[in-house]
């Protein structure tokens, strides 16, 4: 098996004295969609924040394209090709949409191809072209989510991480977000997704992991876990059969 | 080191210092004068330490309360309400700044946090100085007020009052922190929103610490006024009365009770020596010292491991982890 795009092994992370993650280990292959599901406070976001360089792990190894990267700052990680769309989108509300996107391609590697990437992002998200001079803060939740994903794509990431993309969005918008995830995957973008909406998360995922109080409890194919009675009981309440 | 031994140590040190004037001839020995100034700085540093170390509020207005305390004595003595080294007068010179601290503190502290609060207190200091300069006959304007120096008898009363102030300030800080009040203060310092969430009336504790700090600063101001017999706005509202205590606290170790004591004694000695040994460039010395202290000794002497195993000071780093000042991580 070609060595994986990303390999994480026995990752431990602390917030002050409280330990948030216990010996996390998993790998991500190029071109796949991976989901991390779990209840609130299970540490899902902490995994992404650690991989993106916002949080420094206490111990453990993170290998990306074969080289060790744990502990590096977020600005270095994005240059290597790991880009995160943070929880709450993290747009620069005072700047215009276009400015947000231009900053997306801030790293030297991305800056060279900035114009070409912008065209690609515009095709993906037509609304961006129409609203490019508008202040990012004055847009609907859905549009902001599009811009946030677009901005992350501007850095031409090898691995795109999305933290709760569907948070606070209307169901119709959530559907379009997941369609986008599917189209991105078709265009060979590897995706690591953290999502509350377990049904959608597992449907779109090739593989998924279940996180519970900072530990990985289950892993498996997306559709297998979707059908697993335990998952249904624990996370989906009384989901009607077969939808 | 258990609590009893630590209090024992405090009493022993006080007794030691109290004996000094018996050995040295207090009138002519420069040591006695040096210790007098060091004690004043200990009291001032503790009053800043209380506000910054235990509630995380950086106040740049200590000199305002210090000067106010001095002026209370000068005006009171001029109008024969207060006598020479009269305890009632000194308490009054602590109360009035305390009242001002409450009056100004409530609006200032409820609205402003972090560097805005620091700016506000700096502004407060400047306003008080200017008002006292424009104060006309009552405040003696820019000439300041003269006090009859003939009432000076000897150095001893000053020495013991200063020693008392230093011990009183350290004890108050120590007791406040050890009491239940202390836990509320520390919770405010570490995380205001969390403290407010579980019922700590954040504003009340901040204003309380600010007021007690102002009271102590006022007392020090009054002692200095009695000593110099001449209260001059440029001197008593000078920024040094805020700058030096902050530096002493930072160097000693903010948020600990012994830190400011060590910082005050150490720095007073260093500044005096700088003046004697390198007269021309000594002003540069204080600037260099501030910068070096902050780069190499951010947590203060008291938290260095070597010190720690003797005094068992705080293991954690300096509490005023001023995210609000430097990094912007929310």
């Amino acid at each position: 098996m070609a060595n994986p795009l990303l390999r994480v092994s026995d990752l431990n992370v602390f917030y002050g004295d409280a330990q948030a993650l216990w010996d996390i280990g998993f790998h991500v292959d190029e071109g796949g969609v991976y989901s991390i599901i779990g209840s609130n406070g299970a540490g899902k976001s902490t995994v992404l924040r650690t991989l993106s360089g916002l949080v420094r792990p206490a111990s453990g190894r993170v290998e990306f394209l074969g080289s060790r990267v744990e502990g590096k700052g977020a600005d270095v990680m994005v240059d290597l090709g790991i880009s995160l769309v943070p929880e709450g989108r993290g747009l620069f509300t005072g700047l215009t949409v276009l400015e947000n996107l231009e900053l997306g391609a801030f790293t030297k590697r991305a800056r060279k191809k900035s114009a070409k990437t912008l065209e690609w992002v515009n095709d993906l998200f037509p609304i961006i072209e129409t609203r490019k001079d508008q202040q990012a803060g004055k847009m609907s939740g859905g549009e902001q989510q599009m811009v946030a994903i677009g901005r992350a794509l501007m850095s031409r990431p090898r691995l795109l991480m999305l933290d709760e993309p569907s948070l606070g969005l209307a169901p119709l918008i959530v559907k379009t977000v997941f369609e986008i995830i599917r189209t991105l995957n078709e265009q060979k973008v590897t995706i690591l997704l953290v999502e509350q909406n377990i049904h959608q998360a597992l449907k779109v995922a090739d593989r998924a992991l279940v996180l519970k109080t900072g530990r990985i409890t289950m892993t498996g194919k997306g559709d297998e876990l979707l059908a697993d009675p335990e998952i249904q009981k624990a996370y989906m309440g009384t989901l009607r059969k077969g939808t | 080191m258990k609590r009893k031994t630590r209090i024992g140590l405090l009493i022993l040190v006080t007794a030691l210092f109290a004996a000094v004037p018996l050995i040295l001839d207090s009138e002519n020995s420069y040591y006695v004068y040096f210790l007098f100034m060091a004690f004043t700085y200990i009291a001032l540093s503790q009053s800043w330490n209380l506000v910054a170390g235990y509630t995380g509020q950086i106040s740049l207005g200590l000199h305002a309360f210090f000067g106010l305390g001095a002026y209370v004595i000068a005006i009171g003595w001029g109008k024969e309400i207060i006598g020479f080294l009269d305890p009632l007068g000194m308490v009054l010179s602590g109360l009035i700044p305390a009242i001002l601290a409450v009056a100004i503190g409530i609006p200032l502290l409820s609205k402003l946090r972090g560097d805005y609060f620091a700016l506000g207190t700096l502004g407060l200091g400047e306003i008080l100085r200017l008002i006292f300069i424009q104060g006309g006959a009552l405040t003696g304007g820019s000439a300041g007020l003269m006090l009859p120096s003939s009432s000076y008898t000897s150095m001893l009363p000053y020495y013991f009052i200063a020693l008392f102030l230093a011990v009183f300030a350290t004890a108050v800080t120590y007791l406040m922190v050890k009491s239940s009040l202390g836990w509320a203060l520390i919770s405010v310092r570490d995380d205001e929103t969390a403290a407010a969430a579980n019922g700590v009336n954040v504003l009340k504790y901040k204003v309380l610490a600010f007021t007690v700090g102002a009271f102590m600063a006022g007392l020090c101001g009054s002692l200095q006024a009695y000593y110099l017999f001449h209260v001059h706005p440029q001197n008593f509202f000078g920024l040094n009365w805020t700058l030096y205590p902050i530096l002493m606290c930072v160097m000693g170790g903010v948020g600990s009770t012994i830190g400011p004591v060590i910082g005050a004694v150490f720095l007073s000695a260093v500044f005096e020596l700088a003046k004697i040994l390198l007269p021309e460039i000594h002003p540069i010395f204080s600037g260099v010292l501030i910068v070096l202290t902050i780069i190499f000794l951010p947590d203060g002497l008291v938290r260095l491991r070597w010190f720690r195993n003797i005094f068992e000071g705080r293991k954690t780093e300096s509490p005023i982890n001023l995210k609000l000042f430097t990094g912007k991580e929310k």
Binding site: S52, G53, L54, A74, D75, V78, D79, P86, G90, F92, T93, G94, L95, E102, L103, F106, R111, G137, A152, M154 | I58, K111, L112, R113, G114, D115, Y116, A118, L119, G120, L122, G123, E126, I127, L130, I133, Q134, L243, L247, E280, I281, P283, I284, G287, V288, L289, I290, V291, I294, I295, P298, D299, N321, L322, K323, L324, F325, T326, G327, E329
Partner: protein, 298 residues
Amino acid sequence: MFYLPPIDILLQIMINGILFGAMYGIAAIGLSLIFGTMQIIFIAQGAMIILAAYGTFWLFHFFSMDPYLSIIVIFPVSVIFGLGLYQVLFRRVARAGKFPSLLIAFGLMVLLENLMSVLFTPNSRGLRTSYTAFGISALGLKISFTRLMAFIMAILATTGVSLFLKKTLIGKAVRAASENLESATLVGITPHKVNMVTFGIGIGLAGLAGVATATTYSFGPYFGFVFSLKAMIALALGGMGSVVGALMGGVLLGVLESYGAFFLTGGWADVISYAAFLLVLMFRPEGLFVRSSGSERP
């Protein structure tokens, strides 16, 4: 003796206030840039201005280089000095995230002032050219040439900095970092690079203010502290972190003091400016000129 003077005198006071406020404005712009990203009040800005003023004076004294011409030397040197200063002093503190850089700025101010006093002797220095005490009279008003140049420099500096922030990528990065540092790192902006850039420009602006000071005043080593204080007030009036707001804050402060000095005495003018400062801090911390666009500071 409170009488309303004729309109031309009121206008003259306004003009004097605006020109005079521009001096505070240049210093305030530098402060607002530094505050924007590094969140510190750089209280040593006044000492930096006087350092640049001495630079202008010595260039004039030894090479008889015209002060306004010497901007091409003073500005770049100040920027480089700012970059170096950040690396040596502030980088350690910012990373440690532990200590009030305000205290380091304070120490730096005390250090610089005394260093200048020892190196350049405490005597006051004044620059003398054909235009240093030259007044232009236009439509019945008297305008001092050097203060007019200072005003023009303030306008140019503000537009320059605004263009930099709006048009260049680095400028956008600075705006992004001062708004949301975490997201900024996620797109690849290194906090230290951004801080260094703003610090460099901030000290560069102090250089400009230094040239303006050298041509307008006879100055001494301790002349700068008042500039720092008043620039801070201008910053608070104009709104923390907004460049145009800082200039407007400076001009407003100048006009306030100018009228204060005329109707009361000089001494009271300062009390008014500090009182305005406290009131604005308490009731409109985001400043008078910044539309409270929701990014209200703590």
